[in-house]
């Protein structure tokens, strides 16, 4: 096993982790601050990807399409918050789960009616090849772009939350909602804004991952489960926790898929290894979550003191 392979797999894990972070960041803030379980978060990811595919087609430019899709999805997210989700804040978690699950089904069918089951979206030609990173090591250019954008957005989000007045309100809301309300924070407007930011982040992830995977109805559901795992590991309501959790999940998932079958091959018969390797690799993330919850039931970075 060469070091090049380890570096390449780490980059793959980093790329996956950063994209998970974009989803988990919005989810953790909504969950942590509004105390609202939003299962329809994955649908915003899907909407972002469909909007990006449409706008890329309309403008003829990948960058323009993706950049336009972000505010468009944010706007849709805010509309959704004002029209439907706002009425759910006062309800218990079960009602929220039921209502947002219904939203998933409604949005899936709506997308199917408007766009059909899928949309073509491909990597821009300039980025479709590999680049030489180090002697003997090449890496797909588009995946590097994803890592770059993911890291930049994560950095910007950190500055927004840690250094701005809005960020301060967000943190105040996350650590003690009643106290923030008592101090006169306009929670309603903050919630709407927050929801818009979360939706925008979903659009970034959806638009960037769309060309790698496929822009299709139901694309949000699988990744939503992982995003929930991330925020549970990281601690609900904590951006720092979401970042650490995402990178952990991304790296563990990738490394597990890559190295576990090899590791099993050392200890077991090849037949057992090739059967057990992929099986264990696919539950590795959930094992990680169980271990974290056992040691730190509040997650790695609990937002509430």
């Amino acid at each position: 096993m060469s070091w090049i392979l380890i570096v390449e797999q780490s980059l793959n894990g980093l790329q996956f982790g950063l994209m998970l972070f974009l989803l988990a960041a919005g989810l953790t803030l909504v969950f942590g601050i509004m105390d609202m379980i939003n299962l329809a978060h994955g649908s915003l990811y899907m909407l972002g990807a469909f909007l990006a595919a449409t706008l890329v087609q309309a403008t003829g430019s990948f960058a323009a399409g993706v950049l336009l899709a972000i505010p468009a999805t944010a706007l849709l997210g805010m509309l959704l918050e004002m029209s439907v989700l706002r009425t759910l804040y006062a309800r218990d978690h079960l009602s929220q789960v039921l209502a947002t699950f219904a939203l998933i089904l409604i949005l899936n069918e709506a997308v199917r009616i408007i766009w059909g089951p899928d949309m073509p979206l491909s990597v821009p030609a300039a980025l479709s090849g590999p680049v030489q990173l180090l002697p003997g090591m090449v890496y797909p250019a588009y995946r590097l772009l994803i890592i770059g954008v993911g890291a930049a957005v994560a950095g910007a989000l950190y500055l927004l939350v840690a250094r701005t007045r809005i960020g301060m309100l967000v943190r105040a809301g996350a650590s003690n909602r009643e106290m923030a309300l008592a101090m006169g924070v306009n929670i309603r407007r903050l919630f709407t804004l927050l929801f818009g930011v979360g939706a925008g982040l979903c659009a970034v992830a959806g638009a960037l991952l769309g060309p790698l995977f496929a822009v299709q109805v139901g694309m949000g559901e699988n990744i939503l489960i992982l995003a929930f795992v991330v925020i549970v590991i990281g601690g609900i309501g904590s951006i720092r926790g979401a970042l650490v959790g995402s990178l952990l999940v991304g790296v563990v998932d990738t490394i597990g898929r890559a190295f576990l079958p090899l590791l099993f091959g050392i200890f077991f018969q090849p037949r057992v290894a090739s059967a057990a390797g992929p099986a264990i690799a696919s539950v590795l993330v959930y094992l990680l979550m169980a271990v974290v919850l056992y040691i730190k039931p509040q997650g790695l970075f609990p937002a509430r003191g």
């Binding site: 790698l212 109805v217 898929r257 890559a258 992929p278």
Partner: protein
Amino acid sequence: MTRYLLALVWAVAGWLPLPAQAADKVKIGFISTLSGPSAALGVDIRDAFLLAVKLNGGKLGGLPAEIVVGDDQFKPDVGRQLAEKNIKLDKVNFLTGFVFSNIMLASVPVAFENKIIYVSPNAAPSPLAGKQCNPYFFAASWPNDAYHEAAGQYATTRGYQSVYMLAPNYQAGKDSLEGFKRFYKGAIAGEVYTQLGQLDYSAELAQVRAAKPEAVYIFLPGGMGVNFIKQFVAAGLSKDVQLITPGFSSDQDIIRAVGDSMLGTFDAAHWALDFDNAANRKFVAEFEKEYKRLPTVYASQGYDTALLIDSAVREVKGRIEDTEAVRKALKAAKFQSVRGSFRFNRNQYPIQNYYLRVVGKDSQGRLVNKTMGTIFKDRGDAYVQECSMK
């Protein structure tokens, strides 16, 4: 009282063996994967099947044909529900359509229990060829292993010393790599099973790069294959590693999605666009005229399935209620297949030729598969001995 008497008469009449009458129409349940990233396959089969019916004047074997189309959404439970609906509610005479083995295997028992014949336009898994071979199952396509056996034979003939293999973790995936290994004599650089429906292959591609094989063999139908090949090219692996695929992984649907980087890919299949027989020339021309795209192997199978059913209905002179006669007529396979020579083995799986193809440019500059030579002649499958049917 008269009502009860009448009911009694009906009930008794139902028990009496009446001479089979010619039906007034033939009803076909067509269930396939028509949405999601793997939809292109089911859509091609459906389009070609409907084209064959249309060219036949809306008839199959002289009877007006009614096709009930359903989308299994790539989900076994949905496929099974649709099969039950087709059989119990729509009262279809034949069932066909499934692309994926796992969905078909979940759904066809409903047909078998109700003595409805299933004619497979694609999935033909090993269990149904061997021990569990069934009188109501006909494969108008090719056994799941066949393309892979042919590809393995090609890799051996070509002298490749190390091949890395990749398939999804399900029945057809395991069948496929078993088939490849049956005829490939070189070393195996790696054998990896991924999740069915996986779309990101970054981790697997890094392993391929580290293993430095001479060739990679993949069994990744539909969107999985599109994503793998795109990512394979983006990772720069296509320069050093020869990609070998089963026919459908470098067919027109994949070529449309991936583009020029497909040039020079070798694959094995039982059919190609350029086959020079009358049935095929007509099929390719009509398909392109109707749908403005070139057909894939899947399309050829859908077309052949319709022709096969057509021949059987004609052979029994429309008496499709007589299932035994229909079975016999299907088994005779009296139709001009677009693939050329075709006949059924005793397990009702095909005996046919398999060819080496390469992706190149045709006279109009389009990327197409060209036939390079014959890999197997009159090949059946490895499981037929285990089948107890005569």
